[in-house]
Amino acid sequence: MTVKEKKGLVRAKELYQDRSQRAKELKAEGKKVMGYFCLYPVLEIFTAFDIVPFRILGDMGEPITKADSCLPTIVCPFIRSALDLGLKGRYDFFDGVVMCHSCEVGEKAAHIWRIYMDPSYYHFLDTPHTVHAPAQQQFKGQLEDYQKTLEAFTGKKLSAGKLQEAVATCNKQRVLVRELYDLRKSDPPLISGTEIIEVMVALMSIPVAEGSDLLQQVISEVKERTDGPQKKPHRLLLWGTVIDNTALVEMIENVGANVVMDDTCVGSRAYFPMVEPTDNPLDGLSRRYLVDIKCPRTFHEAAYGDTKKDYIKDLEYRFGYLKDFAKEWNADGVILQSIRYCDIHGYDTPGLQDYLNHIGLPNIYIEHDYSEGALAPLRTRVQGFLELIG
């Protein structure tokens, strides 16, 4: 089998292991490749410009060295790792980068990226903190500016039609991701949590349409295969910070559970929300990205403008979707995981635990250093948790 012919899961794994191979090929064919950080740099806009979007991720297996000369060590190691890879030249094939205000440190890393790597195209999206109507308006205005700087960079004008097409392309991929996730509902799931991460990371490394083809292959392959995951005593839902590496899930799946659903930004958080087609596509886009992506970096609350506050109602509003996930995917436990020094997720965990306890879903919170080797101590915790839920 030659490289090109690899399909489905094998292809996904290959892309997972060597993320840049396809992007580099496309670049050699004359396409532009752009890195983006976090989820907010709108994929549809890249796609409409026929630019290959490439999510900037870190590497849990690689010690962070260079980044220490521009970021202190007491901040999110995922960001440090991503910046480190950039400084080491791993992302040199980018024609540009689009950064955003994901979180405080993410924003600073974005500026640092520009200072030290000076990409030929750079745009910073100042994602608002709230989802109020003026914030959506503000975000839409930023998308307009972003589109303009890209037009200037590429020398191409973008029509609403082109953007609408891109919306359809990306939505199609999202439907396929959901279809793939549906295959995790059976017991045993047809696809493991580890494989899902490989597929998701692969999707974030190739053009959206190609990703959809890959998804279609994976879906039909997974449906037919007989050597899928084994039935295990537990089915878990995984919540938390970005997971772009299989090590953690592999560890969990090795101690007696299948990870059947996730809420992380290399998983459902990134793909489940759909874009509503609107006359001006930017309306639907700003809404989807700012409001519908349920990342704790954004201030979501039930009681906007309400002078009363009801804690459980607020929790229900913020985390209710997790109850649905657990129900539909039949999860009997939740693992809340966070990268150390992530303030965003850290503040949410006690509340989320309150909520899960309120609805009677066993849960455990684990913290890690975004490092493959540091996972061993977590094994006992996870295994103990599984023993405890019976």
Partner: protein, 271 residues
């Protein structure tokens, strides 16, 4: 340390043994086992079921099952103290808080990756002070006041202690300070479980009367200590093993899922 407990079919202890100290001896699980067997006058083939637990549980090739020390300690302690609701285990690698209801583990916390707040903290500092681990408790009883230790990290606490010794702080005060430091850290951690009596303190560090006292003081509660705190984990493992074996027998299933041999794990690759 590696410990072995062998139970008979009725749950009576046939042999209990504590092996040599130190992580480097973990690979000697088979030797400790052989010793324990010899003491009970048993052959390995007579053992129906082996459960390995503890930090090194994956390094026991001759075990039927690996169960975490969380579950095993809970089981072992509950068998000795049926009224236990909170258990504190401080061992050489970590410290844990266990919430137990009706003999079953329902929640737990573990210390995070840091040697401070575990037996390692004392082991390292005992080296600094030129003492033996088993004399710490007695020494601390002579303290007139407790030295507050501010460093959270073992390496830095070591430097702090050296500075205090140079300034002439009496040894008992330092040792008592160390015990307090451990108790504070551990209590802080297990507070997440909302501590309720009866409280049982187990693990190697429970042999240290100084830490026992410090814990009681910090908690403001009485704390029971098993006669053999080092063995509760192994005891729990044996009890669980017995249950598993009996269950398999009752269901008419084979007890062993694989063939077991009393092998030494391959630790150091032979070049």
């Amino acid at each position: 340390m590696t410990k072995v407990v062998i139970l008979d079919g009725d749950g009576k202890t046939l042999s209990a043994l504590i092996g040599p100290t130190g992580p480097e001896h973990r690979r000697l699980a088979n030797k400790v086992m052989a010793d324990a067997l010899a003491r009970a006058n048993l052959a390995f083939s007579e053992i129906s079921y082996v459960v390995a637990t503890g930090y090194g549980r994956i390094n026991v090739p001759f075990a039927d099952r690996q169960i975490t020390e969380l579950t095993c300690h809970a089981k072992g302690i509950a068998s000795l103290f049926p009224a236990v609701r909170t258990a504190i285990d401080i061992g050489g690698q970590d410290a844990k808080g266990l919430k137990i209801r009706n003999g079953k583990l329902v929640d737990f916390v573990m210390n995070d990756r840091c040697a401070a707040g575990t037996g390692r903290f004392l082991d390292v500092l005992v080296g600094t002070l030129g003492l033996r681990i088993d004399e710490l408790g007695e020494i601390s009883l002579k303290a007139t006041q407790k030295l507050p230790i501010s460093s959270v990290c073992t390496v830095f606490a070591q430097m702090e202690i050296m500075a205090c010794l140079s300034e002439g702080t009496p040894l008992p005060d330092i040792v008592a300070g160390l015990h307090d430091a451990i108790a504070n850290r551990v209590v802080k951690m297990i507070k997440k479980l909302k501590i309720e009596p009866d409280v049982v303190f187990t693990g190697g560090v429970a042999k240290n009367i100084g830490v026992v006292n410090a814990l009681q003081e910090t908690l403001g509660l009485n704390v029971s200590v098993p006669a053999e705190p080092l063995l509760t984990g192994a005891l729990g493992a044996a009890l669980l093993g017995r249950e598993l074996a009996l269950k398999a027998l009752a269901e008419g299933k084979p007890v062993h899922e694989k063939e077991l041999r009393l092998d030494e794990p391959t630790f150091f690759k032979v070049k």
